[in-house]
Subunit: 335 residues, 3 copies
Amino acid sequence: MKAFNDLADFSNEEIAALLDLAGRLDLHPEPEALRGKVLALLFLSPSLRTLASFQAAMTRLGGGSFVISPEMSIHGIETRPGIVMDGMAAEHIREAVPVIASYGDAIGIRAFAQRRNIEHDMNEIEYTALTDLIDTPCINMESAMNHPCQNLADWKTLDDLGVPANGGKLVLSWAYHPKALPLAVPSSTLHMAAKRGMDVTVLRPGGFELPQPLMQKARAAAQASGGSVTETDDRIEAMQDAHVIYAKSWSSTKHYGDKIADEDLRSELIDWCVDDPWFDNAKEDCRFMHCLPVRRGVVVSDAVLDGPRSVVIHEARNRMLAQMAVLHQMLGGPL
Amino acid sequence: MKAFNDLADFSNEEIAALLDLAGRLDLHPEPEALRGKVLALLFLSPSLRTLASFQAAMTRLGGGSFVISPEMSIHGIETRPGIVMDGMAAEHIREAVPVIASYGDAIGIRAFAQRRNIEHDMNEIEYTALTDLIDTPCINMESAMNHPCQNLADWKTLDDLGVPANGGKLVLSWAYHPKALPLAVPSSTLHMAAKRGMDVTVLRPGGFELPQPLMQKARAAAQASGGSVTETDDRIEAMQDAHVIYAKSWSSTKHYGDKIADEDLRSELIDWCVDDPWFDNAKEDCRFMHCLPVRRGVVVSDAVLDGPRSVVIHEARNRMLAQMAVLHQMLGGPL
Amino acid sequence: MKAFNDLADFSNEEIAALLDLAGRLDLHPEPEALRGKVLALLFLSPSLRTLASFQAAMTRLGGGSFVISPEMSIHGIETRPGIVMDGMAAEHIREAVPVIASYGDAIGIRAFAQRRNIEHDMNEIEYTALTDLIDTPCINMESAMNHPCQNLADWKTLDDLGVPANGGKLVLSWAYHPKALPLAVPSSTLHMAAKRGMDVTVLRPGGFELPQPLMQKARAAAQASGGSVTETDDRIEAMQDAHVIYAKSWSSTKHYGDKIADEDLRSELIDWCVDDPWFDNAKEDCRFMHCLPVRRGVVVSDAVLDGPRSVVIHEARNRMLAQMAVLHQMLGGPL
């Protein structure tokens, strides 16, 4: 595997093989698989789970990693092309990325969306500008519209819990949050569930529709796998017979990049906090999923998050296992 | 070993076995013992020795570790229960701790005292609230009133130096410091020395008495081991025939949590700086111990710290060895 | 090897052996060489390449490392001798360095020049004050006037590119930069190239002459190796038939430690930005070298840096390989 940028680049069979490997590595550790191998971890955006789970994954496979993040005293990193660097930044990303990559057998890169122009972000301009600088095998640790490590972990969680692929219903629900958050998790989760063959309902208030190209991408994936994609702002309709609700806040797409207008719109929506009544007409054992971090009492009630429906810690642990499988395939450990 | 929270949880025989193992690992490295094992390190309070020595310990045993600390750009971590998270913090400790723990085979946690209410701190409310969230084997890297890794290292140092257990005299002395510091080291050092069977004298000015429950805990340990515990504010009496002075500053217990009153009281006590004359009536080779960090010219004179009495670097190195023994037992390396 | 402080401490034969080892480790990984060995990394000055490349180097050899840097919440570190520590700093370097070193089998230390007094800096007072505190094998990760890891990597790059040793011409050129930068790289690069037997021309404007003792040290090295050292402010003369231009900005030595006077002087010199016309009378395949980080459009044009002359990424990767060789020899891995 040369790159792990988007789950859409892999067939369902390849994903099944990765998940099978992840499960095997959990039961049968392989602390010799990646002896002396190095993963470079470049965080241009903050992280907790990704930071910890990738380091742990490499150690478990017998290799190691190093972390570069902007809060380190590393002179400041310039990202604009063609600029005369007479300001604060002492290093340009055009040198920093190839150098950091040259120390690793693979590199993980996190670079969130700029969230000024939605076309720009949907085209993954930022992330691609970085990966275009290098030949090193590359892992997307969250870009503008993709978070394939999260998607692979969530797919595993759905499998672990026995949620049906075909015939399973997943509600991807917008939730209130005081800040306008990126689209990477909702966009790529929608696609993941559709690709898994599930019936996916996007539940969101007006102004928070997911972009049409992303809806189309998911619909195509659903069609190929026997699933479906619908959208609604009607909570009761959406939750009917749901196996899973996957909650996540995201930016207004109607006012993308317009912080004030987004704030105005979302300020009316603080009742979009997932709570027990949401589950009234769902399947009895309907699960609550979230990629974390999650704001308690804002995105979800304490009761739901601390109750038996919540599988958020299970999801988070699966990050490590999913990434171990990706690293194992990418860095040439024997299958 | 499932938890290493307090030295009091272990018998003197168990401690002897740990120290024996620590010595053996120093002489005969076991770089295969913990192959592929991961230690999660969660620092809710700052660290240098603990941070470095745990990472080094895991590497020496063939495993690895990762560090999460609040100065990382990890969204801010909320600790208050039942709160509506509409402020700065994006993640609650109730998710963060189980997630971080899920990536490790064991987790080390550092969480200093709140120092508002002494009962609260003596009951280890903060630390226990964290460890209650997880089943992962857990190491206390300093809590409100305990620092068992420091204690085990200091016990080893006393052994290494041939300081007698029964019949050995250790003076635990308060020292001046411009800030009100936690009680974890003095409290747990008092107990360690008493448990080792030593005659311990707590030397402290009025207003800095250690809490009675902690004095009682130490007296019980001394009684079981053939030691004794006394307290005084008379330096000459305290230092008479001492084998060791263990210096440490701590908060006023009379004014616990009252920063202004504490400052008023300590401002009169800047002569509590351990200097050569303190040793006039001690054993000729009386040693100076301190857990570090230590303020030169404030807690102890340069002459004492740079002189032959000082064993502070030896103590600090023993942190690594003691922790290697704990990790070796906890993570299942063969004895 | 007990210390790697200055390339001048090694014979050309010893350097050849290190470079041979570096090349071998690149082709034939030895992930067992330093099993369970620990490198302590102490950064008193900021870093990206050094931070990443040393961590990667230890992992590739089967060991590990830990990092201590001042931006960590480690209480603040006092460096002044004999001071009463009643201010912010809670720990003195006299304890911090021996403690950190005690956790490693070797220690790397980075401590830039104070840049107040040039004699002080040329005598490596800061760096030596730190290494004098310890017996642990020590690697200079950049001190006031030395950067032997960079020098060894650059020597390897020159070899890799087939630049002749005797008869090869290297131009060490000052370049514009808005800040007054340390002398470590230019001083030690000058010496490295001379020691390699090259004809070295120092190209710099008036007021930026390298100190005479450093010029003498380089001339002595050149004499022993069949090279030469000259200096000039004439760009056309300097670049005539050059095989390599090594660009780097540095402080005015005329106004050393005088920030205002330095700024006044350099503000007239913004045309010292390496650009295509500089190469008009150089060898056709004349290379551009720089230790990084480099400011685009300030030190060097985008055209040169992105063009075929530039070998800066190759240089940076060689940092890792050169350091692997040093660590391999220092920590006792079999040759």
